[in-house]
Structure formats: C-alpha cells, structure tokens
C-alpha cells in the first residue's frame, strides 16, 4: 500500500523538477507505474476481513476496487489534459498536474482510512483541488457559479456530518471502522436521534448526488475541464456512495423507518433526470444528468441495506465510473474540435471520424447497461433487491431502465448518425492519444465481464 502512496506523494516532486520537455511523458509513465502497482490491491487472498498497513490505513474488498479506480484514473486524466494545456505556460502546467496528483493522494487516503474522522477530513480535502481545477481552468464564465454551487452544496451537507461524528465519538469513544460494528449508538425514537441520523447521511447524499440536492452536479461537470469532469464523475461521486456504505453500520435501527423519503427521492430522481437527459442541448450536461440517474439507483441500493443491494451498488459505481469518464472524454474530443458543447452543432460524425464512432458506440452501450457488461450486472442486482424490498419499485426502476436506454441511444444517434452539417469545415482526424484514452477506459470494463469477483465487495 505504501508502495503506491509514497510514489504518489513523490510524483508531486517529480512534477516540479522534471525538465519541461519531458514533463508529460515522465508523469504519464510514472502514474502508469503507480496504477499497475495498485492492481495488487485487488489480490485478496482471503475473502473477508481487512488488510491493515498501519494503524491508520487499511483496505478491504469494498474499498480496493475504488482505490484501483482512483489510481487507474490518474494516467487517463494526464492523457486527456495534455492537449488543452499545451498552450499554457510551464508553471501553470506543473500546477495543474500537481492538483491532479494531490487529488489522487487525498482520494487514496480517503478510501483507505480506518477511522471516520480521517475519512471526513480527506473527503473535505478533495474539494479543494477540484474547486481550483473547475474555477481556474474551466472554459466559460459560468465556472465561477459552478464552483460556488459545488463547494457550498458539499460543505453545507458535510458540516452536520462533522457534528454527528463528534457526537458519536464523544459518546462511544471511538470511530474506528473495526469498532463501529459493535458499538451502535442506542437509537431510540427521540427527535434528536433522527436529526443525528439525518446529519450522518446528508453529506453523502449531497455528494452522490440524491435527486433533490443534485443541482451542483450538472454545473460542476459542464464547467470543469476534461480532467476535472473525469475525476468528478468517476471517483468523487463514489466517495459519497462509499461513505454511505461505511456509515450505514452505525445507523441501525432508525434506517428502517427514516430511509423511505430518500429511497423515494432516489428512485423518482432516476426517472426525472433520465427524462431531463432527453431534452438536453448540451452534451456534457446530458452525460452529467445521466450520472445523477445512475447514482440514484446506487443510492436506493445502499439505502435498503441488503447484501445484493450493496453488491449491486458497488459494481454499478465502478462500472459507471469507467463509462461516465469515457463519455466525458468523447464529449471532450468533440469540444476540442468545435469549441462548442451544443449537440446539434456536431452531428453525423460517423462519416467523418468512423473510428471514434466505435468508441461512442461502446460507451453508449455501456451507459445503457448492455449485458454482459458490469453496468448491467450492478443494475440488475439493485433492481432485484429493490423488487424484493417492495414489488412496486419495479415500475419505477423498469421505467428508469427504459428511459436510460432511450437517452443513451438518442445521444449516440444524434452525434454519430445523420447528415453532417454544412458549417463544419475542419475536423482534425482522431489522434492516437484519444484512441488510447478510450481504449484504456473501456478495456477494464470489458475485462470486468470475465471476473466480477474483483469488484463485488464483501457481501456477495
């Protein structure tokens, strides 16, 4: 574990001391090396239990897929950012890479935290590099608004969490994960306990995001540069899901009664945000709302607290991370050519860039949860466990699946098929870098079909 964390920390040093001509290749190779080493996290010789590195950091089958996803994403972000940063001066390029690396360090520390306070501190710490990336390197004026929404929604949700964790600590004495299972707070039906329950979950629900508090996400995703969008969609949303899974342990037995509104919001959000996707004119906004839709399913799966729900949620988180990041990279290839995110301005691309159409096809199929991809496996497990929870959820989840399929196909057909508009006079051919980027996104997704045991957590 330290063989991944210490090199990541020293990557910061490498960023600032590499000769400028070799900066990107050095950082790319270094981060690929760290990513390859991180795959050792997936080798779990025993099926249960924690792997402790020291008193403060550990990983288990729940956190190891998310850790590997985090480490895998850094080289992909570097490849994706290389083009649009080429025009910036040297120090700014180094700063940008340092922000991405520090984000990875905080994320590794967050997912491997063994105590809730450390998780909380790292959860908040990831906000800062992301905020800097969105507000400094975004492309439109609205990035300031986006950064404000992002920061304040997440902070407003997570300050109650700090209070709740401190209350728990002062009454129970420890917030270590090992002791959480045996020290639930005696939750009677006092109003204060209900508020405490709410405070524990609110931060993660805002981060996921849940449908009612999702407003920050389309803004942040649309205004962020490509690396910011990738890391937001792929990993930062999953921080919310992971935190929810960890904190559910201490929230019994109130969850049985209090979770209804949130399950309903999540499921209704699947349908509502899916319908909004069908009416979007901005490509990145479409992908952002599709992220809200998938995360609504994940939230519902976690809130019903069944083994299959958790497993499905984890598989869907990993699969969605890869798929959503791939879709943002594809949207970025469009953006770098036309400097506009409007879908109708760049249509019929299959005639012009046929190889990129292949990647669009695969990513759209992954988004609509085609079997045998892990997206479907996660969704099926969540839908089945929701059906077991209550039969009537099938209406909502079935409708949601239908709408997901329709907007994914709509996005594919609108960008790839049809006549090419007359005003497009210069579209550069697809770079090898872009093909590499998408191949590296979709290859793990295809490989996970063969061995889903790696990502299905510790409950299945």
């Amino acid at each position: 574990m330290l063989k991944i964390l210490i090199p990541s920390m020293f990557m910061l040093l490498t960023t600032w001391t590499s000769p400028f001509k070799q900066l990107w290749s050095t950082i790319l190779m270094y981060s690929f090396l760290v990513a390859t080493l991180s795959l050792t996290w997936l080798a779990m010789p025993t099926d249960t239990g924690w792997f402790y590195i020291n008193n403060y950091m550990a990983y288990d089958p729940l956190s190891s897929p998310l850790l590997v996803l985090t480490c895998w994403l850094l080289p992909l972000m570097i490849i994706a950012s290389q083009n649009h940063l080429a025009v910036e001066p040297e120090n700014r390029q180094r700063t940008y890479i340092s922000l991405l690396i520090s984000l990875q360090i905080f994320l590794i520390l967050a997912f491997s935290a063994t105590e809730m306070i450390m998780f909380y501190v790292m959860f908040e710490a990831t906000l800062i590099p992301t905020l800097i990336i969105i507000t400094r390197w975004g492309n439109q004026m609205e990035r300031l608004n986006a950064g404000t929404y992002f920061l304040f929604y997440t902070l407003a949700g997570s300050l109650p969490l700090l209070v709740a964790l401190l209350i728990y600590h002062s009454s129970m004495g420890s917030l270590s994960y090992l002791s959480l299972t045996s020290l639930p707070l005696t939750c009677s039906n006092l109003y204060a306990n209900k508020l405490w329950w709410m405070a524990c979950l609110l931060a993660f629900l805002v981060k996921m995001p849940l449908y009612g508090v999702h407003l920050w996400l389309p803004k942040a995703h649309v205004e962020a540069p490509i690396a910011g969008s990738m890391v937001l969609a792929a990993v930062l949303l999953k921080l919310g899901g992971y935190g929810m899974m960890r904190i559910m342990i201490i929230l019994d037995p109130l969850t049985k009664e209090l979770s209804y509104p949130f399950i309903i919001l999540a499921l209704w959000g699947v349908i509502m945000t899916g319908s909004i996707c069908l009416r979007q004119t901005d490509l990145k906004s479409l992908i952002a709302y599709s992220s809200v839709s998938h995360m609504g399913l994940v939230a519902a799966g976690i809130l019903i607290q069944t083994p299959w729900g958790f497993t499905g949620a984890l598989i869907l988180m990993i699969a969605h991370g890869l798929t959503s990041s791939a879709l943002f990279c594809l949207a970025n290839t469009n953006y770098e050519r036309t400097h506009s995110r409007t879908i109708i301005l760049a249509r019929g691309l299959q005639m012009v860039l046929p190889l990129m159409a292949t990647w669009w096809f695969l990513a759209s199929l992954a988004n609509l949860a085609l079997p045998p991809l892990p997206n479907l496996m996660g969704e099926i497990m969540i839908i089945t466990s929701l059906f077991n929870w209550s039969f009537y959820t099938l209406i909502l989840t079935g409708l949601g699946t239908l709408i997901t399929a329709s907007y994914s196909l709509y996005m594919f057909l609108l960008t790839q098929r049809g006549p090419i508009p007359h005003h497009l006079i210069l579209l550069e051919p697809s770079h090898t870098r872009e093909h590499l980027l998408l191949a590296l996104h979709l290859l793990p997704l295809l490989l996970l079909i063969a061995k889903p045991e790696l990502v299905w957590g510790w409950t299945a």
């Binding site: 077991n388 005003h423 497009l424």
Partner: protein, 127 residues
C-alpha cells in the same frame, strides 16, 4: 467570393415590392430600405466569414449563443404561472407523497404478514 444576389424565389417585403410601392408613405419606404440595408450588412458579414479560406472554426451565431445560454440557465427565466406551478406540483411533489404512501403500506402489510407467519415467498430471491 460567392456572388451576392437576391434569392430568386424570395418575396420582397411589401414596401419594396414595386406593385405596392406607390401605396406607401415615404417614411415607410425609407424605414424599410434602412432595415433592408442592415440585413444586407449582416448578410455580408456572414458571407465574408463563410467564404474566408483561412477560417477553421465555427461561425459564431449570437442567436444560438443566447439560446444555449437560456437552455443552460433556466432558473432566472422561470416564472411561476398556473401552468408551471401545476406541472411542478404534479411532477415534483405529488409523486413523492404518493410513492411514500404506496411503499409504506406495502411494506407494513408485508411486515404484518411476516409477524403473523402468512407471507408466501413464491420466488426464491436472494436479497
């Protein structure tokens, strides 16, 4: 550069149509001519950009920019009319309460059946 001619099938505005020309006051004619001159200037700018051999990017259309901005920032443009309020309540408030009622009664029925021992588990679902 492309030739600038009037579109052969387009109709002229009424004030510039020679059949109607003498029915109109000179002020109307002058106003219409100045508007036509403005339109021609805009069209010339567009054609200059369209046929520029060194152009690599899209021609910026301010109407499209405004439309995209309006689609992306709907909240300042929202007005609470009867129709929008009804839609908001129908899709944003009523389903939440209705679904709460449905799920709660279904789950409570199931809980009673479990406690009474009468629940039939006809599918062997892992949960």
């Amino acid at each position: 550069m492309a030739d600038y001619r009037e579109a052969p099938l387009a109709t002229r505005p009424k004030t510039l149509d020679p059949n109607e020309y003498f029915n109109l006051s000179p002020e109307q004619r002058r106003a219409e001519e100045s508007r036509a001159a403005l339109r021609a200037g805009l069209k010339r700018q567009y054609q200059l950009q369209l046929n520029d051999p060194h152009r690599k990017e899209l021609i910026e259309d301010p109407a499209l920019t405004r439309w995209v901005y309006a689609r992306a920032n709907p909240y300042p443009l929202f007005r609470a009319t009867k129709k929008t309020s009804l839609l908001g309540v129908m899709f944003g408030v009523v389903p939440l309460f209705a679904l709460y009622y449905v799920f709660k009664t279904d789950r409570d029925n199931k809980e009673e059946k479990i406690k009474a021992g009468t629940l039939e588990r006809s599918f062997s679902l892992a949960s």
